[in-house]
């Protein structure tokens, strides 16, 4: 598992890309990805293009991020979910909290 962060040129959008399986072991590295002060005002996108699976602790981490960044429901986008990841978001009604595609 690996996490990469990238700001858009105008610093308005932060994309966090997660590769491999997003699980309990990802906690610290994932928290680091959004702890930068510059993120306070940016739009956050989590790109799951290379994420193979997620588990319930990863779900907790995503919610934790939303809370930490004080974002309203639907404000953070999670994109490029594979069918299994999307299914887990569906089962757990994550679409109420995140903008998932």
């Amino acid at each position: 598992m690996n996490v990469e962060t990238k700001f858009s040129e105008d610093n308005q959008i932060l994309t966090i890309s997660i590769s491999g399986s997003f699980d309990f072991n990802s906690l610290n590295i994932f928290r680091q990805a959004y702890s930068d002060d510059a993120i306070k005002s940016a739009k956050v996108i989590v790109d799951m293009r290379n994420t193979t699976t997620i588990d319930s602790s990863a779900l907790g981490m995503l919610l934790n991020m939303q809370r930490y960044l004080k974002r309203a429901d639907g404000e953070i986008s999670i994109i490029n979910c594979n069918p299994i990841v999307a299914k887990i978001f569906a089962i757990t009604h994550f679409s109420k909290k995140f903008n998932i595609s």
Binding site: F24, T52, D55, S56, S57, L63, R67, A90
Partner: protein, 550 residues
Amino acid sequence: MVKILIVDDIATNRKLLRQTLRALKDYDVIEATNGLEAITRFKENAPDLILMDINMPEMDGRQSTKAIKALMGDNYTPIIFVTALTVEDSLASALASGGDDFISKPFNVSVLESKINAHLRIRELTQQIADKNQELVSHNQRLINEHELIEHFFEKALQQSFLDNKYIKYHMSSMSAFNGDVLLVKRGINGSMYMLMGDFTGHGLTAAMGTLPVAMIFFKMANKGLTVGDIATELNAQLRRVMPSSIFFAATLLELNATGDMLTVWMGGMPENYWLSKGGQLKDLIHSQHMPLGVLDESEFDFSTQIINVENGDKIYLYTDGVIEAQSPKGDLFGDDRLKDILLTQGDNRFDQVLNTLKQFTDIENQDDDITLVELTCHALPAVADEVEKFILPWHISISLAVDEIRTLNPVNELSSLLGSLPILTRHKGILQVLLSEMYFNALDHSILDLNSDKKTDDEHFAEYYRDRNEQLQNLTQASIIFDIQYFPQSSQPYLLIRIEDSGRGYKGHDVEQSNDQLHGRGLTIIYSFCDSVKFSDDGKALEVVYLLD
């Protein structure tokens, strides 16, 4: 040298003509003494022009002319009657037999000369036209051959399609031999079914050219089970690279997952799709969110997709703009409303009804555009062909983890790789990994370690929870976790029985319900939704789930 055949039964007449001709020009002159002999000379010597007497023994000039004209086919050889006949009727009947002109005896040399020249000129022109014609015919034949070759090529390139009519009903008709519409379907190694339906700008061969790279990329990437967004990105990049900028590709790219309850859709430049419930109610319209493929530069391209949670029996209707833009002979458009009306009122017959109405509405002879209509029915998909080699033997894997392994390793990835390497489980690998992970961490965190998820309330406590966890894990001195995985190969419904047993205090899945805001407690929800049965036993020290393999 121009060759002239003189046909006359009287030798002095032939001699006179011959000398006259020779005096005019260096003609190659041959002779025949009656109509029958003229036919033989014609066949053997292929003269450029014939001077024919009318009244002769054996066969007269009329009959001979008729026979020779029949022999010459497209090749024009002028026949000029040289006659003393003045009765208009007999002259007319001579010309009616196929003669091209006549000259009266005694003849005027300059009239003879100009008539010969005029007819030779016509012959030359006719020959030029015939040559051009022949060239066109062979060119056309070459074109037909090439088309056949290309058609064969297209057929080969597109034939990998998985067009199983239990899931897909389709109709495609192109306005020329080559179709600028594309419909491709492929199963992925992940068990999903991918569909690509699209419409190149224009029609005919130019439009169809683009289908080749598109099909190759689509088949390859779908087979690997890549995401719809990735496939769209690659198609866009390749079309940008190989196709002229005036040609682009409106397309719907979708993936139906193996369990048939989720669609991932990328749509660019296509008319909306209709999403109907099993009972025929309109659930939603699925709209294009993007520009067609092949328009945007790679850096501008947007690969984001729509995810649609469908139910068993839901139907999706996809079509190219050829359907709604079809015209009646009077010039009326078929239109959205007509299509919508049929889809929403005609029950399960709606697919055929659209086609029938379309056929009646338009003048089939004058189709203006390629037309494609597809009905996709959402169902759980059969196992992919690669997996057909079934395991008929039951098996049982048991893995015991002792305290050192629990402390230092995460066994879930390795275990799911091991299971995923079995052909029957390949397409379930992702879900199995999730299941094993949830089961393992439930056992470890809540039975062996003494952790309370209620702590996971805010960021700081969330982190604290994991610090606690780490600390407790490092100090662990005695513990064991045993995975027992059994495969039951019943042909009607193969399944896995997965049991995890730990040495801790036991954990019971308390309350599966939880509010959306809680940072924890989703593990069991996930386990319940993927498994057919979930059973805790031994005071929560063992958890046994049944996972169906189909």
